[in-house]
């Protein structure tokens, strides 16, 4: 029988410190760096996640969530502001 997937996810406010990565039990190893992301942010492979939640309290920006409790939502707070700078930079030479 196929194992059920986990429910935890990392939102976009991740600062890429990696504390969660090494907290994930070795055989599970569900946390990975998103390839090509300049900010080096991490993500959870839900098919590997076992919902142990060990990673959650170690996050300095509180960006790891239980999708069952909250639903998948966009992160909020200061670390979303980079989108404004990115959008501004994309448009700065169009004027």
């Amino acid at each position: 029988m196929a194992r059920k997937s986990g429910h935890f996810y990392i939102d976009e406010t991740c600062i890429a410190c990696g504390a969660c990565d090494h907290a994930c039990p070795g055989k599970v190893d569900a946390i990975y760096r998103v390839e090509g992301d300049f900010l080096g942010r991490l993500a959870i492979r839900i098919e590997d996640c076992i919902d142990c939640a060990i990673c959650v309290p170690l996050c300095p920006v509180d960006c790891i969530h239980d999708g069952r409790a909250e639903g998948v939502v966009e992160g909020a707070g200061g670390y979303t502001k980079i989108k404004a700078l990115q959008a501004w930079a994309d448009n700065r030479n169009k004027d």
Partner: protein, 401 residues
Amino acid sequence: MANLGRGVTDLKLTPSDIPLAGDDLARFETSFEHTKEVWGELLEENGNRLQKGNLSLHWMNTEGSAWNKSRVKPSSRGLTLMDINRPDVYGTVPKIAPHRKFASRGSIRDQYLNRMPDVSDYTIMDRDEVWADNVETLYEEAVARQWKATTDVPWDEYEDIVKLPEDIRLASAQVATFLTEVEFVAADMPAKWLYHIPQDFLEVKMFMVTQMMDEARHQEVFRKRAIIGGGLLHASPGFEWALKVILEAPNHTMGSFMLNLLAEGMVLTIFRSGEMIAPTQLDKEIFRLTLQDEARHVSYGVMQVKNYLDKHPDRAAATEELHRFADIAEQVMLTTLTEPTVIEPLAVLLGGGIKYAETKGLDGVAKLWDMLISEYLQRCDRVGLDRHARCTLPRTAPWAA
């Protein structure tokens, strides 16, 4: 049989070719004279045993240890700190360090306490002045992600820097210069406190050493970047006052707040914006590499200050003290944020040249400012220090208000 006790009594310090200040040497001599009875006795016992050809083998007595009781196994990542800390005897970090010795947590040490020297400089005896719940995983991450400034940056593309317009080249060299000025304080500050942390909190000490190595590499990479791009430019007096506050903070937690949460946090914000600031791919790669190191330092600082407040027996008083410190820290940081050596080159880089610095450039820096303050307040929220009402840093850049 030689009388080693007398030998010890007659012991003369080996003359040194290195000139030492007389007072310092005298203090050293006096100190070891005072303790000679203890270490001289050890020397005599050891010498006697060896002369008799006897072995002690007392170290084969495992009573009082966890020998063979706590087998640990490596995980798929190898043998991590978390793996070896799984047994309580090794992984339980005491709230108060039991002594000021060098001996390892979990070793057989209590029976030797009166024969070991005290390290009086180990003064941070309360775990919660330095501990963070993520310090072990951050250490593992730090060790796994070390990189080399000499070869991991595509320096063979340096001609892209040389070909930049003069104003962009100057601006990028000035940013690199200011970063060389700030990076070493993030090594000095942990270095200052490292020596005051006893061995029972070894994970914190180990993490601090990685932070120092990270900062040495950042110093290296930004110094190389400035020099290969034309040269180092101007010092930033305003920034130096913030650095001084970091080093002279009254205790480790306040220093950690100022360094890791406020200053490193702001440097992290700048590095995260590297895609928009960097004029070349080489510069983008430098920012990409350094931001992951900075993120660990911010992560430790946030969780350490949080732990300090969470565990403090008088949280209200501790919070107010931290607020008072932050009142000063924010003002000196404002001195930094308004420095021309910081704002102006960023405006030139974000605007795309000196011609656009006062228009598009300052507009971009205003967005950066917004991000700096918002992220700082978010970090304060995370540690349980609500600065929203008390923060003296303008939420909006002064020219954009």
